[in-house]
């Protein structure tokens, strides 16, 4: 398949089941909601070493938030429910509770309920109070700038992590420009995050390593400087840079949509902007049961 001069490889991205949740952070203004959201989703690019994958889903207008203030929706994904609950709680406690004027609300009403403010309340040292409003429990925790309001729980649902595609370009600036265009479009799709810095990862990995202690190592098949040194290279001579976009989402449909608009944005730039191919992280079925076939998505 070729779109605007860009070859879409007959391959697929492999993704794996995760547990996901969403929280809504509000603050006095969007600036401070964003600061809290960025702090809460920091150091959360990959479950390999961060414990979770997290990102900002989108900015919310005051009429979309429970308390009528500007807000930001964030999503967190982890391999298991326990890990997710722990990450959510520690991040909420250290990054949102501490952030001036912030409040924290559930972003998913259904699912399995996991603590949001339920345990953070103990920071109140006995001065915390709860309010049940429209059937939902909120904790009011006295803090130095006033009160931190946090919904007791949020919903944990089954999710999918590791959807991805690779952008293969003639140069590094062209690969990055294409990825930036893709991310801009993908951020408009609900229920997904792209957890890597700016949504883009330049160090895609393969499963395993020559070093026994490492579970993942550089994806040498797509490293342009190794074209002559690795037997497994998947790059033609004209490709000088490869970048990857990883997508976590609540459902396969959500990831499908995000991949479609992302790949389309890259293809819109086309061969004339140095974009040669779109491929995907395909590890021969070692990673997960969800397969995202690029050509099917773009059909």
């Amino acid at each position: 398949m070729i779109i605007n001069g860009v070859t879409i490889d007959a391959t697929f991205a492999e993704a794996f089941p995760m547990k996901g949740t969403r929280a809504i952070i509000t603050a006095q203004n969007e600036k401070w909601a964003m600061i809290a959201a960025q702090a809460m989703t920091g150091f959360a690019t990959s479950v390999i070493a961060c414990g979770c994958e997290a990102g900002i889903e989108r900015v919310l207008t005051p009429d979309e938030t429970p308390d009528g203030r500007p807000g930001v929706a964030i999503m967190i994904f982890a391999m298991g429910g326990k890990g997710l609950a722990k990450q959510l709680e520690t991040r909420a406690g250290q990054c949102v509770l501490t952030s001036p004027t912030s409040a924290l609300f559930a972003g998913i009403d259904g699912g399995i309920r996991i603590p949001l403010g339920k345990n953070l309340r103990y920071f109140g040292d006995g001065f915390q109070t709860s309010k049940v409003i429209s059937g939902k429990r909120y904790w009011r925790i006295p803090v130095m700038d006033g009160e931190f309001l946090a919904e007791a729980t949020t919903g944990q649902v089954d999710a999918i992590g590791g959807g991805n595609f690779l952008v293969l370009a003639q140069s590094q600036p062209q690969a990055l420009a294409a990825c930036e265009a893709a991310i801009e479009e993908m951020r408009k799709i609900p229920n997904v995050i792209m957890p890597f810095p700016g949504g883009v990862v330049r160090s895609g990995s393969k499963v395993g390593s020559k070093y026994k202690t490492l579970g993942a190592s550089t994806n040498d098949a797509f490293c342009p400087t190794l074209k002559g040194s690795t037997k497994k290279t998947d790059l033609s001579p004209d490709i000088e840079s490869v970048m990857e976009i990883v997508i976590d989402g609540l459902t396969k449909d959500d990831i499908d949509k995000a991949m479609r608009v992302g790949i389309q944005a890259v293809c819109d730039l086309g061969a004339e902007n140095g974009i040669m191919r779109i491929s995907a992280g395909n590890y021969g079925g070692k990673l997960g049961p969800f397969h995202f076939h690029l050509q099917e998505i773009m059909a």
Binding site: D67, T129, K131, V132, S134, Y138, E147
Partner: protein
């Protein structure tokens, strides 16, 4: 479907226990069985059709017409459905209610909504003492749901209130919020003496400056984030409480009752 309607024929001298006439009990009964139900009236037991003219058949919606202040226990332990009462009601209206809605187009006696668990009780007129309170000797009042009073309330509003919301558009009497365990009482009018006497936790929200006991401590003026959410939750009500003009988030906070554990609060609109 036409509502199951009970129209009072004559006002008996003795009080009437109306507790059998609730939606969930009448749903499975035929018209003749409903007419034959016995209601306690003083020391006598009267058939429903001796007291009321019965019409309609939809037991999920009961209308009581010509009601007066001696009809007690209307909607007692109501478990779904709706009861409309045209006229005043006696004591214990909506007592222990579990689900559903009761609307009284008149005034209510003592212990309205006492120990109710869920649902909605609306009273157009005034109410007597112990609105949403605990029965004498019991330690827990209303545990959930919402009570809206458009007139004035008597003494001891929300006595031993455990959870839920009591909204009063008019004035509240003495000892409002006494011995509150938690929950919310909002009064748009004035409050009487000994406000929040012995309250442990919970919120009393006021539009007018109260007379406070010495056991309430001034915590200063604050903007509280939960208040807009609380007001938003009233949006469905047909009441000034639903109006944006009456919503606020800036309050003066008093903590108390310090003679108890002092985790309660009285919030006064600034």
């Amino acid at each position: 479907m036409s509502a199951l309607t009970f129209t009072l024929k004559t006002q008996p001298n003795q009080r009437v226990d109306m507790s059998p006439l609730v939606c969930h009990s009448l749903e499975k009964l035929e018209a003749a069985e409903i007419a034959a139900l016995k209601l306690h009236c003083g020391k006598r037991k009267l058939r429903v059709d001796e007291l009321f003219t019965v019409s309609g058949y939809d037991a999920k919606h009961i209308i009581i017409k010509n009601s007066f202040a001696k009809l007690d226990y209307i909607g007692k332990e109501l478990d779904g459905g709706m009861i409309h009462v045209e006229g005043d009601v006696g004591a214990y209206c909506g007592m222990g209610m579990k689900k559903g809605a009761i609307k009284v187009f008149g005034s209510a006696g003592i212990y309205a909504g006492c120990e109710m668990k869920k649902g909605q009780l609306e009273i157009d007129g005034n109410v007597g003492d112990f609105l949403g309170g605990a029965l004498a000797g019991n330690k827990m009042g209303m545990k959930g749901g919402i009570i809206l009073v458009r007139g004035n309330a008597g003494d001891r509003v929300g006595d031993h209130l455990r959870r839920g919301t009591i909204l009063i558009e008019g004035n509240a009497g003495d000892y409002c919020g006494s011995r509150m365990i938690a929950g919310t009482i909002a009064v748009m009018g004035n409050t009487g003496k000994f406000l929040g006497h012995g309250m442990r936790r919970g919120t009393i929200l006021l539009w007018n400056e109260p007379k406070l006991s010495a056991s309430f401590n001034d915590c200063g003026s604050h903007t509280l984030a939960f208040l807009p959410m609380l007001f938003t939750s009233f949006n469905e009500l047909n009441s000034p409480f639903a109006s944006n003009e009456n919503a606020f988030n800036r309050v003066h906070r008093y903590a108390g009752d310090m003679s108890e554990i002092g985790r309660g609060e009285i919030l006064v609109k600034i």
